[in-house]
Symmetry: D3
Subunit: 236 residues, 6 copies
Amino acid sequence: MRPSGRKLDEMRPVTIETGIQRHAEGSCLIRLGKTEVLCSASLEERAPPFLKNTGQGWVTAEYGMLPRATTTRNRREAAAGKQTGRTTEIQRLIGRSLRACVDRQALGERQITIDCDVINADGGTRCAAITGGWVALRLAANRMLKAGLLTTDPIMGHVAAVSCGFFAGQAVLDLDYAEDSEAGADGNFVMRDDNRLVEVQLSAEGAVFSREQLSNLLDLAQGGIDHLIAAQRAAL
Amino acid sequence: MRPSGRKLDEMRPVTIETGIQRHAEGSCLIRLGKTEVLCSASLEERAPPFLKNTGQGWVTAEYGMLPRATTTRNRREAAAGKQTGRTTEIQRLIGRSLRACVDRQALGERQITIDCDVINADGGTRCAAITGGWVALRLAANRMLKAGLLTTDPIMGHVAAVSCGFFAGQAVLDLDYAEDSEAGADGNFVMRDDNRLVEVQLSAEGAVFSREQLSNLLDLAQGGIDHLIAAQRAAL
Amino acid sequence: MRPSGRKLDEMRPVTIETGIQRHAEGSCLIRLGKTEVLCSASLEERAPPFLKNTGQGWVTAEYGMLPRATTTRNRREAAAGKQTGRTTEIQRLIGRSLRACVDRQALGERQITIDCDVINADGGTRCAAITGGWVALRLAANRMLKAGLLTTDPIMGHVAAVSCGFFAGQAVLDLDYAEDSEAGADGNFVMRDDNRLVEVQLSAEGAVFSREQLSNLLDLAQGGIDHLIAAQRAAL
Amino acid sequence: MRPSGRKLDEMRPVTIETGIQRHAEGSCLIRLGKTEVLCSASLEERAPPFLKNTGQGWVTAEYGMLPRATTTRNRREAAAGKQTGRTTEIQRLIGRSLRACVDRQALGERQITIDCDVINADGGTRCAAITGGWVALRLAANRMLKAGLLTTDPIMGHVAAVSCGFFAGQAVLDLDYAEDSEAGADGNFVMRDDNRLVEVQLSAEGAVFSREQLSNLLDLAQGGIDHLIAAQRAAL
Amino acid sequence: MRPSGRKLDEMRPVTIETGIQRHAEGSCLIRLGKTEVLCSASLEERAPPFLKNTGQGWVTAEYGMLPRATTTRNRREAAAGKQTGRTTEIQRLIGRSLRACVDRQALGERQITIDCDVINADGGTRCAAITGGWVALRLAANRMLKAGLLTTDPIMGHVAAVSCGFFAGQAVLDLDYAEDSEAGADGNFVMRDDNRLVEVQLSAEGAVFSREQLSNLLDLAQGGIDHLIAAQRAAL
Amino acid sequence: MRPSGRKLDEMRPVTIETGIQRHAEGSCLIRLGKTEVLCSASLEERAPPFLKNTGQGWVTAEYGMLPRATTTRNRREAAAGKQTGRTTEIQRLIGRSLRACVDRQALGERQITIDCDVINADGGTRCAAITGGWVALRLAANRMLKAGLLTTDPIMGHVAAVSCGFFAGQAVLDLDYAEDSEAGADGNFVMRDDNRLVEVQLSAEGAVFSREQLSNLLDLAQGGIDHLIAAQRAAL
């Protein structure tokens, strides 16, 4: 019934390959079916100005899409001279999500920037970016611990994200582009490995939804998150 | 226990005054406690290019904050030469939310732009903008119906929005700035008058949350939405 | 004979309501007929770089127009990414005009920014902005004196502005939009309460003018300024 | 008593050399003492959109300053990515001033752009730009008449501009930079050869002024304008 | 003697993997030692305006570098709001180089955009972009021929590019970053498979050079180009 | 056979007039046939940040074209809000070329900016800018030496540039616009007075070329450079 033939609660195959960008403190390529996102973590020994003298650090994110990640070429944001509203919204989401597992005091007055660049887009790029971004962040923290820059691990558990929504009237997990473009309501769920929610975003451009339907999506999301966290563990 | 002395499920006083911007097809000033947002609806007899020859119209929104709506002056975005990520994120939310009550076929190939400008900010400006924006939209549709531009009402019920979150460990309704800046998790809930959800956005920058807590917030939100829809009815 | 039925030397009703933006050091809403401009004064305890170590302060202004202040919606400058030439010209005029009543030595190394945002436009917005901006500035100085930040009053008398021009061949005071869009020559006159001129700007896009005509406009302007200064006094 | 030794009502030497930019429909280099401005007129066989199907044309102007026209290098606006408020204000003034001598119906649906680029700045650049811009415009109209593009001359008389102000308490004509930077009030006067005023701009950043003083400046300006129009005649 | 231990005329290992971006009409990942560039070709059935009604098509290129392709993170151009001078210079070079093998009449009124995004940078990224860009272009043309969009092959032979320069006083082929950052003169040589030169760019920031030295570099370049063209053939 | 009637190896008349911009530390107007470029050198007693505490200085360049330097008016870059790719490419070339004759240690931690603004364009503007820019730089250094700011001359010999290319199948020196727009391959050659090459840029948009042809152009270039250096000497 799903265009891909998947079951309602079946995710696409996930693989995470680390060490793609050799200069980065941490990096990986996450593949979620045909969606591919390159994630890197860059350490800067200086926190942003608003944290000056607080002893706390920051984790932020930037998101981009290569022009031909999509069916038809999308305009290069660097050439257009500005990032779209969609881009800024996504990169703010990635940053907030990853900060939910960071002990910013333990990190100290440093900044880690997570860059997420979409190589191929087939739905779910922001969720892949969060899930892969966590791996890059984890690798960067490992390297800092090993180098003695940190004494306490600033990463408190895993963070991963999955999309769920209604396709052809059914709640489905991990929508691909064919489903996403037809979906009624469509949401993104960010969770930690302690089953706590980090972010819930559910939008009904096509069809409004009930609390029961939100609950169904949360059930599906839980299963997807477990799967993604297993993939994160496997990659490390 | 709340800084304002309000009960956990108590909203701030809401008033909606219409006809503020006399040139607009619809306009109002919504006051949510000390938060004040001016909303207007502008009709353009031309839909955006991507709807050409579809017979469908569009509703979009723009959001701004006067430089001294806030405790310290914030930089004028027109002078800075760009809108912040926060602004674009909010105006996308307002547009999506209002489209959830619009029959775009009944609207025809037209665009209505909802402008929401914050005069005074004390928390909850995006929710006030959605709730007031709906009134401006409703007034514009009324005028179009009266003028015979439309034969079918394109507005399907009310849309309103309220924020809920955790303050000092308790779920509270309609956070003001003092609460918002201290809140653990903080969410925005957009609903229609048929009790269906339009948008749920819950973020945990400070503290992650459980499904039970999300459920508590949804309970509170329902009460707030009823209150706001009553204020919308009173204003018309 | 005037579209509004006013006499040649009759101003529109003027009201000035203070305390509109509660966070600002001073603020007011000035209404000049159907023209409405929100003015605020924001104090910053730091002068601009070019005044570093001079002991002198600065007063500057920014001007904006809400998108639907006008008959048809005008594009939001923040979305366009730049201020128009008209906007920059007006805000430079407001700043220069207000500095003409400021003892910058008495102000000390501080900056006061006057924000003028047009809620409804019906001609004369820049004059309303100067007249209302002075009230915001006066209120801010009062607060600084009261708080002991200043020992000498840095405000030397009132500043107000009015437009005059030729409509249907006659010199008229305080042009509204219907007159302004048809006017031959059209000017703005900024004066102090000691009857000294601060700024004279007279442009003849449609019809050139003689020195006698300039003199007629100056006569009219004097009466208007007296009226506006009385309104400023009443508001305080 | 003036730094240059000039009399109070004495202009600097004026020369206007035509044909500097050989591709332009009209061009000249105007020298006003040590101030040098290159002016060109470019014809485009298309009026701006707002004049479509009105049968009327347009004259507009752009102004720039070479980075090292000034004592210390000023930043190249093309590199900065925006024109300053001063630049937009000046180019709007030049356009308005020159349109005051143009019969836009006789011009037909065409646009002439006057470019004014300052090679060397020593005060009075905007006045030199208007005076020289008129010569470029006149030359372009001559060429169009000769080529049979126009049957009626669209240029109605001369337009020229001069600055006057108060230096060391005295009204002086044609301020150079040494005077301008010390001037109390400082104004620009644009006039036609029929002695009618086109634009009066008088600003008092340092010292407010009386109507008598404005009158004194107008007397001085009249003499200066006569001198400049004679120079325009000599150049053609 | 070279940091990498390579011989003076020895290139780094080259591999070209095709089909990386599945939506693109042609794509590949070219690896030149540790330098990795993703290249794609996007077809648009419309030529740029200046070719309207000429029957000719266009090939253009855009270049970008992922923020962490380099040792320290470089600022994302989309966030900065503009492309650097280096970027525009490189993308113009890529476009010119590839057009040298294109029969634009045979292509017809279409545009092919070559996007080159650097995943990892270790010197020679612009040469890798040209060499890989040619493969993407070739694949896109193949697909167009197969689909019957074209009847004549618009690609006339191979184009490839290599860098040569002086390191430690010796002429060396294919400089990596360690060599490039120390090089005296450093050049890029673009050639076709008929041994004709397409572009020669040789710059001497550190050390000027003689005609004999230019000749030595051209000898080296010839060998490198042969090697790269063999890699292009192997990839197809 | 050449449109201008010149011999294949004949340059256009060259004149260099110094002292054009009196505020600049050095300036000249270089005329290369009908091409005219105004060049100035501006000294700043501060090196760019990346040279902080190295004891070394910097020479950089900016390039612009007046809107009506060309046959049809080109858009003012300051109004467009960005420099074109062509402009940034040219100004980077000018900067690199001039740095090839500068002893940056002898210059000390200062920056000299060379501004090159094209008054009239008839081909070869970038070569004229380099040749004239060197004169402005030399004059600025002379002034610094005279003023005792420098004890060692930081300028090591002359730098000049000339274009050569293939017109109607023949190698020609110093292409004017009529030739340039028809040229097969077209290159720019920057050399010092010790006959060493500083920069070679040869592009084949229309027709690829052989090493023999490159050699022919180098022969022609040498003659042109000698001529230009003689003109530089004559101007000083």
